[in-house]
Symmetry: C2
Subunit: 157 residues, 2 copies
DNA sequence: AAAAGATAGTTGACAACTAAACTGTTTTAG
DNA sequence: CTAAAACAGTTTAGTTGTCAACTATCTTTT
């Protein structure tokens, strides 16, 4: 029984700041891989789930541009994603009378049902993964990552 | 002067565990975007830099398989990446006498020079982004992300 | 020593994403 | 009021990555 080599960083870092950022990056690569496999097993994808969930939880309809900003992806990506989901009958593009350039995107019943199913599995997964974190640790993680977001926006946007 | 909408999470989360994981995910998406732009401005990419840096810091030569595991990407991805870097004269594939299936990958002088240049800019960037974190906060981030890696390996691999 | 299985790397098909150029529509400024 | 600028969404081309099937080599089992 050996220790998984992915637990510790691939190379030593020159100082604590580097170490913290690389540790974060490294973990996010792992989360990405886990997440890809999880959604793949459930015949979906991270982008798909996030899109449906964002639509579900938004108050009022969203435009593609708003979705693009919320989801931190390029708007051209949203176009393609919505094309697919529309053809699967999970969302609808509704013309906006006040602005003929835009669409209001809404979930169909099929979209809502699919999301409901995925949400159960997703919540189970989150619970399993995060169960070893105390409330205080969760709070710390939220606050540290929020700090990092602010810094990223400030120094690199 | 309004607050950047990317600071706070796109949708409210049902509990602290969800919030922590989503906050982490969200931040990692931002870091990814920042990182892509940073390396693109410097005529490189995250994958490119990570590969060179990993080779540089390894003791002894590495095989493609080892690189693939260190970098958490598929081995076929390493093949393509190395093809490009080899054609740019930044790395060399050296036949391994003891195992004729493998190559030992080494940096060329050109590769080392490029990396040295990138490393300066990268370190500046890390310093700028992480300067608002105290040592203690860096430690916390390292320890929380390490914990998350362990949990991800345990519950989802 | 031979057959079966594992491993290193490559290939090809594909998925997810970006960026830049484009179309059509709306807003703003002279 | 009209020209210029900004904006929403699409298209196209290119990048980065996966996965599965494949070749060649090495290891294990018997």
């Amino acid at each position: 029984m050996t220790v998984d080599p992915r637990i510790d960083l691939p190379v030593p870092q020159p100082n604590k700041q580097h170490e913290a950022l690389v540790s974060f990056w490294w973990t996010s690569a792992m989360l990405k891989n886990v997440s890809r496999r999880f959604f793949r097993e459930n015949y979906s994808s991270e982008a798909h789930f996030n899109l449906l969930a964002t639509l579900m939880k938004s108050e009022g309809p969203m435009t593609q541009n708003e979705l693009s900003q919320k989801l931190l992806v390029d708007k051209s990506n949203i176009t393609g994603l919505l094309d697919k989901l529309e053809s699967l009958g999970q969302i609808k593009r509704n013309k906006v009378p006040e602005d003929r350039r835009s669409y209001h995107i809404t979930l169909t019943d099929a979209g809502r049902e699919l999301l409901a199913g995925l949400d159960v599995l997703y919540s189970e997964m989150v619970h399993k993964v995060m169960d070893c974190f105390t409330e205080e640790q969760c709070d710390q993680l939220v606050s540290l990552t929020r700090k990092l977001r602010i810094s990223l926006i400030e120094h690199a946007s």
